[in-house]
Symmetry: C2
Subunit: 702 residues, 2 copies
């Protein structure tokens, strides 16, 4: 996380700069020439100046030796001088009153130890002088909608204007994203590559874009989640504003060693934590650039669905089949039409057509375009359908372009007459070249989902995000950490602490002798579980420290056997005694583990215990804190959820009570404060309405 | 399945016709004009004639009233006359000695009962006259490599020649496939849309293409699997010839009612059977047109991998991350390089570069192209790597095209000097327009994987198919069906039959009275399982007909209770008695079910029983017959396979013996002959080396 968060005001100043000085500008440099070309390409609105050692003009811009010489002080400097000269360039700019900078120069943290030192120095200088800089080793930004440009990212002309903002950590990837967007005719509002992000992180830019009215969809490519607090806050604001954030995150970094040690950590993995964060924050997570941008264009056009269902109107039966198959795979809700919708369709369509969703209107519509005019309003009016997508082949030849010229305007009019924005889908992804764009513009049909494959993924994202928007952002206050967290060494101490935090735990006593063990067992009645109590032993079974289902007559003997086995296996372990607890049988064993993620803090994992968690990796993960509803959702999302609901004669588990217990465990972990590394309850025993933690283990950070 | 299989010789005659008559040709018909244009577009080699009522020339072709009037008898007629005139046109052609036809006319089986009658009549006429026809309601075929054209499928010019054959049931989809192929610069050898496939099915065309030397990859879009015997035979020949078949199949048809009744049928579903068929036959199954064609182009270029590993050489770290993530998701094997490879790379690459796969060569290679020349041969020489894919941005602008002009020839030369065919991958899918194609041709770098998303899917298919090619096609002889299959009514009769076929089954006796039950239990010793024996009761538990773990003193009483419960629930059921068997506890319960698929015949499903199969749908499916190796693979592919290998103290199952038993069950089902609908062993009890079928049920087709 960045040490100090850049204010929204500073970001606004940076991203809306008018007067810009290019420091290091030179006619001999293709690099600085390229940056200057970008001003024109993207339509920078403001004065431009060249600053260089000789004060020579460059690329036709007036030249100065120092920013201080520029008659109108610049709002922003773009620095392209070699790495070792960047700090003094920054000082010079600060002397001229400049508070925003973009450092494109490389040779910093990406280039080894010496570069890291340089970068740290640069940050210190910037902080001292009150300058916010973007980079270094960055390709800069283009606030395309705002006419503020400071970038070397390649342009594709004509620049297409629209509502998609692109935030990328990588310059190369930002280039690929914007290339793909242009190829598909998608318009952009903002584009940047954060580079080394010494001061300004992707989370900062995302937070800024949440407030940018020109940006209606935020897309981000990130390689590591930094500034997670700011990202979370931005995501909550975006969700409230119904502005989607679509993230492509790659690279599952090595888990931090102390987390990997704990069972939970190994099971969860930081990529699952990132997934959990996305789900909780309403961030759409995608796996490729194409999926990201096709999703962005779709949501930019339609916004959140007001009715959950999605319908397809198709001229091809094959298209319906593909849509149904891929839609099911990607979670596209395609409910059947209401009876009145089907009745009306039956009157309109040929007798051999079906009236199912996806709807094959048959090739008849190619002969009789009035079928569009008559059938589309019926679909658009269906009470369960929030979006109708029309499948028509996109043009791949002149003959096909002619067909589009006939059908597109009719389709567009049918949507518009129903007060809806038209939405086409093609069977395969095709570029949206100038000619196709022109026909689309003429037809008033500008929105296209690119291909069944990416399209159904995008529609699935749209449906899930729409549900998430309807639920709203949940901001839960984390319970305060205890001023003095207890020293939880050993199972019984951990269970007793959990009990103090409202978690039901099994009864149990640490017996110091065979006689005490016998007396405890007698008092409990029935069979007992016996376990060694030691602050030094985490894995008790492996040293003969656990014996289950002991009847009272054997308790004394088993006590001595446990002590002997442990003394033999681990002669140096400190021994507190032997825990005697009532034996629990039947029911189900759950696993509840809290682990600390390096980026996101504490996360909780819940799964059925034993074979389920170890063999099936059947678990649900959320960031803490969680509330009861979320805990319930976690339980229900398990593959083994049916077992909880009662299976083959077992009593159904009290899910409400179980959810409360899981919330209490999460809150107990938060109460233990920042030193906690992991807290594991394994098993949490559940039988109908009875719930008890039978064993627990806390681990601490060094 | 088609009643009579069209011979390869007839297909060869059809698809290589030189002299072609267009029956129904007319200058006033845009339809016939379009077909004539296709001859030129696709480069038909042979004489063309027009046949119509008036014998008028059309589209510049000489006109005749009858095929019999044509001086050189045609090899093929293309029929475009209205549906009711097609049969007489076929008769006329037959009179002229024509044996091949393409019927483009619609109004047949696709248009209701009357059309179905017409189509049946047409088939009868064709069979009587020895004519093989393609269609009706078809868009025809273009044997592009062979210069034989009879199609209305849209062309995109210039036609690109290559080794991909396209077989589609749907005309609209064939158009989308060929459009996408052209857009990406992929060359075709063959293209067809089978339409109603009254005589010639996609399987027939695939079988033909296996022998077509110009076709190096076969792609097929199908909506229903017909001619499965021929498809299976073609797939085995293709696998032996190392020619991939890539299938996009949509639409999971409703399961046949009699199969759905059985537990197995509901669990398996015909789509899983199709999956199983593809896996067994080495057919590559894909989910979208793009995935199909990107995979086709990749495999056309590289063929089966001789070494299993795939490496990426990249100029972008972000590209490496995406490749790693998506590659893992899609099963791309990216092993680490050998130590000597890493040592050599460390000498070549900048000090801050890693030497891992995927390999980030860093932006340094953009400055110094000799890095390609030095590093690529090292990768290509790695003993574990069968394919090196180089990631470079594809051109999206003139500036990028210039970059490609610099790098592509260097990359291509590095591959060729190492005796390898160069292979690029782009981060996103981009069209391959004429300009990019020209640069590619100049550079000698013609093979491109289109984007990380589709590309990693294609590479995963390539890797799996290469392994499958190495294993070879397995042609197993099915055991002959018994001449007189026994009447298996009831559990015990079924178990006894299975025992006769080498399947170990639990001991058991049908007791006719409480006394007999007691005597049987006493003879067995230990607890027993007791179940009602009735040919009329499939679900015994639901009527109180099953009691487990009965100790000997209770056997008489329980016998009477079972009889009473069943008599009360089903007073009319015929009762043979009560089966008394030894009780089996511990170990694992498996489910083995054989079901008859409407298209593919008998398929076998194996899974762990109880909760595993019902809640997790954890099962493996194969077509019968299977051999021991395949049965073992099925077991190992289960999510719950770890349980079989011994889990938390349970003895590992004897997998070899278990595989033998599963093969025996499959063979027993085959022995029961074509009337068998389903055969279910549930559970098959397994404990270490002990294996016993505890219950079994056979169901029969009406």
């Amino acid at each position: 996380m960045s040490a100090e968060q850049v204010s929204l005001e500073a970001l606004r100043h940076l991203f809306t700069a008018r007067n810009v000085a290019l420091v290091g500008a030179s006619d001999r440099s293709t690099w600085s020439a390229m940056i200057v070309r970008r001003f024109a390409d993207f339509g920078h609105q403001g004065q431009l100046y060249a600053v260089n050692r000789d004060g020579k003009q460059a690329h036709g811009l007036p030249g100065y030796r120092s920013c201080c010489e520029i008659p109108t002080p610049p709002d922003l400097v773009i620095i392209v001088v070699p790495a070792h000269s960047v700090a003094s360039a920054l000082e010079d700019a600060a002397d001229a009153g400049v508070t925003s900078a973009v450092v494109l120069s490389s040779g910093f943290a990406e280039a080894g130890a010496e570069g890291e030192r340089l970068q740290a120095g640069l940050v210190a200088t910037a902080r001292r002088r009150g300058v916010t800089f973007f980079g270094p080793n960055s390709m800069g930004f283009a606030n395309i909608a705002g006419g503020a440009v400071a970038t070397a990212i390649g342009t594709r002309l004509p620049v297409l204007h629209g509502g998609i903002g692109i935030v990328s950590q990588s310059g190369a990837v930002s280039n690929e994203i914007s290339k793909f967007a242009h190829q598909q005719g998608m318009g952009l509002s903002f584009l940047c590559a954060t580079g080394n992000e010494a001061m300004v992180t992707p989370a900062d830019v995302i937070d800024y874009l949440v407030d940018d009215p020109a940006t209606r969809v935020i897309t981000a490519y990130i390689e590591a989640a930094s500034s997670t607090d700011r990202l979370a806050a931005a995501a909550r604001r975006a969700l409230a504003a119904k502005k989607p954030i679509i993230v492509l995150k790659v690279g599952t970094s090595a888990m931090s060693a102390e987390v990997a040690k704990a069972h939970t950590g190994a099971m969860v993995g930081d990529d699952r934590v990132f997934d959990a964060a996305c789900e909780q924050l309403g961030i759409i997570r995608v796996r490729s650039i194409e999926e990201m941008m096709v999703t962005a264009a779709l949501i930019e056009a339609v916004g959140p669905l007001e009715r959950p269902g999605i319908a397809l109107a198709s001229v091809s039966g094959g298209g319906c089949g593909m849509f149904a198959d891929l839609g099911e795979q990607h979670g596209v809700p395609t409910p059947q039409f209401a009876p009145e919708t089907r009745a009306k369709l039956a009157e309109i369509l040929p007798s051999y057509a079906s009236t199912l969703n996806p709807l094959d209107m048959t090739g008849a519509v190619l002969q009789d375009t009035s079928l569009w005019t008559r059938a589309l309003p019926v679909l658009l009016d269906d009470p369960g359908i929030g979006l109708v997508v029309t499948l028509m082949a996109m043009p791949g030849s002149e003959a096909e372009m002619a067909t589009c010229r006939v059908h597109w305007p009719v389709i567009a009019k049918a949507y518009r007459d129903a007060g809806k924005r038209p939405m086409l889908i093609g069977q395969v992804i095709q570029p949206m070249g100038p000619e196709a764009l022109a026909v689309a513009e003429e037809s008033g049909l500008r929105d296209i989902v690119f291909g069944m494959d990416f399209g159904t993924r995008a529609l699935g994202h749209l449906a899930r995000w729409s549900r998430r928007v309807a639920l709203g952002a949940d901001v839960l206050a984390a319970p305060a950490a205890l001023a003095e967290p207890p020293d939880l060494s050993g199972e019984r101490a951990t269970l007793d602490f959990l009990a103090s935090q409202g978690v039901p735990v099994v009864a149990g006593t640490v017996a110091r002798s065979a006689e005490e063990a016998q007396a405890t067992a007698a008092a409990l009645g029935g069979a007992v579980a016996m376990k060694i109590a030691s602050p030094d032993i985490a894995h008790k079974t492996e040293v003969g420290g656990v014996r289950l289902g002991i009847t009272s007559k054997d308790v004394g003997r088993v006590h001595d056997e446990i002590r002997a086995a442990v003394a033999s296996a681990l002669p140096d372990a400190r021994i507190d005694g032997v825990i005697v607890s009532p034996m629990r049988t039947g029911g189900l064993e759950l696993f509840v583990g809290v682990t600390r993620d390096a980026d996101w803090g504490l996360a909780i994992a819940v799964g059925l215990g034993g074979v389920w968690i170890e063999i099936l990796q059947d678990s649900a993960v959320r960031l803490l804190p969680i509330n009861k509803g979320q805990a319930r959702e976690m339980l229900i999302s398990l593959r083994a959820a049916k077992l909880l609901k009662g299976y083959r004669g077992t009593a159904p588990v009290d899910l409400d009570r179980l959810a409360e217990v899981i919330v209490a465990i999460g809150n107990a972990a938060l109460a233990l404060g920042p030193k906690l590394a992991a807290l594991e309850i394994n098993p949490l025993w559940v039988s109908g309405g009875e719930i008890e933690a039978l064993d627990a283990l806390a681990e601490w950070r060094d």
